[in-house]
Symmetry: C2
Subunit: 374 residues, 2 copies
């Protein structure tokens, strides 16, 4: 079985559909929780599924260093290893090697670096990245690319993008023909339309199962990101999924979906959950704040996650202050649940042609802020 | 409804039965997981229940300091606060104030101390301990006592025990008449039979709903502890539950049950779960050890907990090494599951008059140690 994208509805530039894989369907627009090192932090995989997630993201860089891709392969692959039998997308390692590893040396061949864990030396190339993602058993494999930090001048961005396009071709050749597994290309080109178009054309010439918009969410700000998303998805084939990497806050997600993005991933909901920050329909709520200390009300009375159904804000505040693990468990669960509810709401609104109203309500409720203190 | 103890079977000195409370039955011998500060660390309360726990222990010392008993009462009591609707036993705070607080000053009245969290000054007396445990809504309340460190000379132990007996009377008077709630006395007297007997008589004269054997598991070693348990339970009324506080390792528990103990609590299974130590039928297994790195086998192939059903030793090793929260979640679950399975096995063996065989099998399997490395 080939991985197929069934585009079912559009509303303006926004799209809804289903990516069909041998490991199950992925409803789009989809938000992918991040399972960095073989776990979505503080969550059991069955709980991640209960929030509505159809697919997880795994990080090639982390897994290649520990426990290693070869070890995971010998143990039956990443799905069995981490007890998640549904689809997994893996990044290529390219972005994280540039942000986490030390002693990096970039060449035409790839990136040589030292592990941030034990200093051991490694080399990532398009070919090695494809091999690692194959060993992990990833369902959706990402091309190995280079992502320059923004702002950068056009010449730098162009040079980097053209290197990534040569690496995309090498990735495609190394990936080969693997029925049931997809390979996505990654568009680069910074905030320069001509470079984005050049990158898209190069990728479409090679031909991929899906296309990512890369090089965003790297500090350029929401306005610049939306500026690129106003035109860049239009350079990509309408019949393939479009993936915006590393995004984002709820309003980033809504804006990206409005602009034609089908898939996203971000550590934000899980990372926030470990710092006492909750994401709700009414915006961000810092449960560490003393205003919640005596508040018997749930975080969000309309939310059906365990944190909201079974606990008061006072309890959540208490376990955060006491540094109890259950605070990470409950808030991560809530945040992932909220993100998946938001995606479900977006999908339904697109399917029913009422996205503009949904988005207006989304912003209006957030503008009102959190419920009043007692 | 009064809390009642239904003693159903004996096998030698060992007993099995049920403590009936308005919040549900407690099957004895019972192991009570410790929910120190309103959470059994790294566990959802529904998961604690799924391991087979009928009752939790809450710590008066921790809760009185944060979030405070008054706050918990205003929020509807500890059960609602922590989402555990079954029975809760609370300790008196006496033991932990002596081990955790600073600037302690002991007098006939009680103990004055400074909080280990913020240095604030507090006083615990029998009357205040009863008030706090009432505010928490505890089902089984413990008398406020003083527990001397062992070894200590007889005169010291006697003075301390006699103070605890005066405090036991004040506890009883302060507790009053609270249908549906039980008050347990705590026997002291160190390792001296005459002092244990004197303490037991004093308690029985006052009259309690159950009796704890206190002052053990404080560093005296298993042999000395079993030495006391060989005679001390016999000083207590047969028709009331007997509770051994702060015990223990699996072999401590088995030995205590053989000697007539009905209830125990210990942080060990949960604390071990946060350090990579698992308790199994074959003894302790340190999953941090490199021998597990490539081992595809479950921790215990006969165990039905999620850690054993869904993950390899290699995965557990990986998430421990990577300091992932799921390692605490899975190992705590396994350890609590194992402890509850052990209790269920002990209860069935006592009920069927085959405890000696059960205990022999328990020791024989442990003597063989963990499964061979691959």
């Amino acid at each position: 079985m080939r991985i197929e994208f069934d585009l079912q509805a559009t509303d303006g530039a926004a799209r809804s559909g289903v990516i069909r894989t041998p490991r199950g369907d992925i409803r789009t627009p989809a938000f992918m929780p991040v399972g960095t090192a073989g776990t979505v932090k503080a969550m059991m995989p069955e709980s991640v599924r209960a929030t509505g997630a159809d697919i997880l993201l795994g990080n090639t860089y982390h897994l290649m260093l520990r426990p290693t891709a070869e070890r995971i392969a010998a143990l039956g692959g990443l799905h069995r290893f981490m007890n998640w039998e549904r689809p997994i997308l893996t990044d290529s390692g390219g972005f994280q090697v540039m942000s986490l590893a030390s002693l990096r040396k970039l060449s035409e061949e790839g990136v040589r670096f030292s592990s941030h864990i034990d200093g051991s030396k490694h080399m990532l190339t398009p070919e090695r990245s494809m091999e690692i993602q194959r060993l992990l058993g990833s369902d959706i494999v990402m091309c190995f690319d280079e992502c320059p930090a923004l702002p950068a001048d056009d010449a730098t961005v162009a040079r980097s993008m053209q290197l990534s396009m040569r690496w995309a071709l090498r990735s495609k050749e190394a990936f080969g023909d693997r029925p049931g597994h997809a390979l996505f290309g990654i568009m680069q080109g910074g905030v320069t339309p001509a470079l984005r178009e050049e990158s898209a054309k190069a990728l479409v010439d090679i031909g991929f199962d899906g296309y990512a918009v890369g090089g965003l969410a790297v500090g350029e700000g929401q306005e610049a990101m939306f500026g690129v998303l106003d035109y860049a998805p239009g350079f990509l084939p309408a019949d393939k999924p479009r993936y915006l990497m590393g995004v984002g806050k709820p309003d980033d997600i809504v804006g990206a979906v409005e602009r034609g993005i089908d898939m996203m991933d971000c550590v934000l909901p899980s990372r926030s959950g470990r710092t006492g920050q909750a994401w709700t329909r009414r915006g961000a709520v810092n449960l560490r704040n003393a205003r919640h200390r005596d508040d018997p009300r749930p975080l969000d009375e309309a939310c059906t996650c365990p944190a909201c159904r079974n606990y008061s804000r006072a309890y959540l505040h208490h376990v955060i202050k006491a540094d109890e693990i259950i605070s990470s468990m409950l808030l991560t669960w809530h945040n992932l649940h909220y993100y998946q509810e938001l995606m479900a709401g977006l999908r339904a609104a697109i399917a029913e042609g009422r996205l503009a109203g949904f988005v207006a309500d989304f912003h209006a409720l957030r503008a009102g802020g959190d419920i009043e203190p007692l």
